[in-house]
């Protein structure tokens, strides 16, 4: 019952958050300077009647309240509006760009979590050693670097100076591959630089978090108990320290999603990766407001949803909050 109550409460909070984001999103795009219809149309030659028609179509002649109603109705039917650059429903455009982003961010995130956790553990375990100091400094430097800048340096080094990797994109358009393996090979070649860039940025943070979290845990009394019990170092780490230290990681990985989305915009822009991040950038550059609004909403709802899942996962992992 308590678990169910918790899930319900969290769900309620999540729904509330999404609702506020919706409201925010609605008004954000309606307080902008200029005539929304003009921005929606972008055709200076449009006739007065056509303007009128569009105004009615979007309900812009109605009160803000009614407009909000329309907006909600459209959202619930999956209508995120119409991109005026692509002349397509926004949701279609987003869905088209989602898989590449998931591939890139997913790979980079998993990679960075694995490496970050392992390194974090090593550094924490050898705290104070030269290795720790070097690792910590490197992590801090990685953490301090703007993602796009790392990306540019990567391109400059590995695609221009030593042209071993493609400049960008996800594939060479219009190429026919003899086998699925050569296609996969080409994809991996394209993926490598952006993934490494992305992972580098994330690793720094995960190392720091993991190291701190583990250090915190290692100073706890129960670690002393475990040591007193004669538990071997290996088991001390694996069975006593890690389960506790990994708990904050779960939350932080979820909280980091927002950061990952931000990173995706930068990395995808630099590497011309055909994903949501770059779509957002082009929408921004083209002032494609409906698309921009749609992506923003989509991404936010995804992140909020992921946080909800992380909360539940945390609840599941940590026995202290279960009952």
């Amino acid at each position: 019952m308590k678990m169910r109550g918790y899930v319900l409460r969290k769900l309620g909070q999540t729904v509330l958050t999404i609702f506020v984001v919706l409201v925010f999103n609605f008004f954000l795009f309606r307080i902008m300077p200029g005539n929304p219809v003009r921005i929606l149309i972008r055709n200076p030659k449009i006739s007065a009647e056509a303007l009128q028609r569009i105004t009615e179509q979007f309900g812009l002649n109605q009160s803000k309240f009614v407009q909000f109603g329309y907006y909600l109705r459209d959202l619930f039917t999956g209508d995120l509006g119409h991109s005026f650059v692509y002349r397509k429903p926004v949701l279609d455009v987003i869905m088209e760009k989602l898989p590449p982003t998931l591939l890139l961010t997913g790979t980079a995130t998993i990679l960075s979590i694995i490496i970050g956790v392992i390194l974090g553990v090593i550094f924490a375990w050898k705290r104070g050693s030269k290795l720790d100091v070097a690792g910590l400094s490197l992590s801090l430097v990685l953490y301090s670097m703007p993602s796009f800048w790392v990306g540019i340096l990567m391109v400059m080094l590995f695609a221009v100076y030593w042209p071993i990797f493609p400049i960008g994109g996800m594939s060479v358009p219009g190429t026919y591959y003899a086998t699925i393996w050569s296609q996969l090979g080409s994809l991996l070649r394209h993926m490598l630089l952006p993934t490494v860039t992305f992972a580098l940025i994330l690793i720094g943070e995960y190392v720091l978090i993991m190291r701190n979290s583990l250090l915190e845990v290692m100073s706890e009394d129960y670690m002393l108990t475990a040591r007193a019990k004669g538990v071997s170092n290996r088991n001390l780490l694996r069975r006593h320290a890690l389960p506790n230290a990994m708990l904050p990681m779960v939350t932080l990985i979820a909280m980091n999603l927002g950061f990952i989305v931000g990173g995706a915009i930068q990395v995808e822009t630099v590497f011309s990766w055909p994903g949501l991040g770059r779509l957002m950038y082009t929408a921004l550059m083209g002032r494609d407001y409906p698309l921009l609004q749609g992506i923003f909403l989509f991404v936010t709802v995804c992140v909020v949803g992921a946080n909800f899942c992380a909360d539940l996962l945390y609840r599941y992992l940590d026995p202290r909050v279960k009952s």
Binding site: G5, L8, R9, G12
Partner: protein, 329 residues
């Protein structure tokens, strides 16, 4: 003795925080009955001790009297006037006369306030001093009163630069500076080492003798209670089970719970525990208070009746109150 504070059927119930959803679905909100009908009187210049284990509601009672916790029922009369009816202004005036001293001198002093600011703050908050010189004078006097003999040297020190005993004295000085008539002392020495406890207790008793301050002394240590107080009230799960003069309660306890407590009073020179049959279990959670006599599940002498009816709190002997069915027959 003239009554200073009179508590009548005081109740403090907290609602357990539950989710929005749960309250939506009409679930009854569980209530913590921290204090559940407590009555006693405290005379001018009297030291009344409120003793009991953790979770018995003694601290909450103390705070409720000062309205640091809002009571949910009952009356608290201070010099005949109901504290609960005070408006903001009257409450402010009341708080100048009624002070509180906390258990942990490491926690009860703001680490970023100097000794001077700590003691002067009550004066400033209540706008009691016209000039800086007067303020300094009163602060210095309060520090001396609290047994800190070189007050002006201490003015610019921070609490962490003082020893444990000095800190508790500083806390007392912070209370004394307003010339209170009533002090709630919440376990004032339990965090201090044995070697410095006696000094603090002595100071408090001396202040009572000199200034006629009435104390509500809250402690879990019955031997301390016996040493310093005039009367002792024993609390169990939000209720007073026994109240009487210090000697009577300790030497001739009426209630089985008091007897059990007294039997385990620590003393270095005798072995009590090993021979005793002790009370089983721990104090239950004040959310699920047992029916009938609250003590019955742990009472070695419980009768069937104890499970059903709430025992009456009454004057068993002159000036000695208790609530137990076994005393009724």
């Amino acid at each position: 003795m003239q009554s200073l504070v009179s508590v009548d059927q005081l109740e403090v119930h907290f609602a357990v925080r539950t989710g929005f959803m749960q309250s939506m679905f009409g679930k009854e909100t569980p209530v913590v009955r921290a204090v559940d009908g407590v009555s006693f009187e405290l005379g001018k210049g009297e030291i009344l001790c409120l003793a009991g284990e953790s979770g018995s509601g003694k601290t909450t009672t103390g705070k409720a009297i000062l309205r640091l916790v809002e009571p949910t029922g009952g009356k608290v009369l201070y010099e005949g006037e109901d504290v609960r009816s005070y408006n903001r202004l009257r409450l402010r005036a009341f708080r100048q006369e009624a002070q509180i001293i906390f258990q942990d001198p490491y926690e009860s002093l703001n680490p970023r306030q100097t000794v001077f600011s700590t003691v002067a703050e009550p004066l400033e908050v209540n706008n009691l001093c016209r000039s800086l010189a007067e303020k300094e004078e009163r602060v210095a006097q309060a520090l001396v009163d609290a047994g800190l003999h070189n007050p002006r040297e201490l003015f610019l020190r921070y609490p962490h630069e003082l020893s444990g005993g000095q800190r508790q004295r500083l806390a007392i000085a912070g209370a004394l500076v307003l010339d209170p008539k009533f002090i709630v002392a919440d376990e004032p020495v339990s965090m201090l080492d044995l070697s410095i406890r006696a000094g603090i207790l002595k100071l408090m008793v001396d202040l009572r003798d000199k200034k006629g301050i009435g104390y509500l002394f809250i402690t879990h240590d019955l031997s301390l209670a016996w040493l310093v107080s005039d009367r002792i009230a024993i609390m169990y799960l939000g209720k007073i089970v026994e109240l009487g003069s210090a000697d009577k309660v300790i030497k001739e306890p009426l209630h089985p719970y008091t007897r059990a407590l007294v039997s385990v009073i620590p003393t270095p020179r005798r072995k009590v525990i090993t021979q005793q049959s002790l009370l089983k279990g721990e104090t239950p959670d004040p959310v699920n208070v047992p029916a009938g006599c609250r003590f019955h599940p742990r009472c070695p002498e419980a009768k069937p009746r104890c499970r059903e009816a709430v025992p009456l709190y009454r004057e068993v002997r002159p000036g000695h109150f208790a609530a137990c069915h076994l005393l009724d027959s």
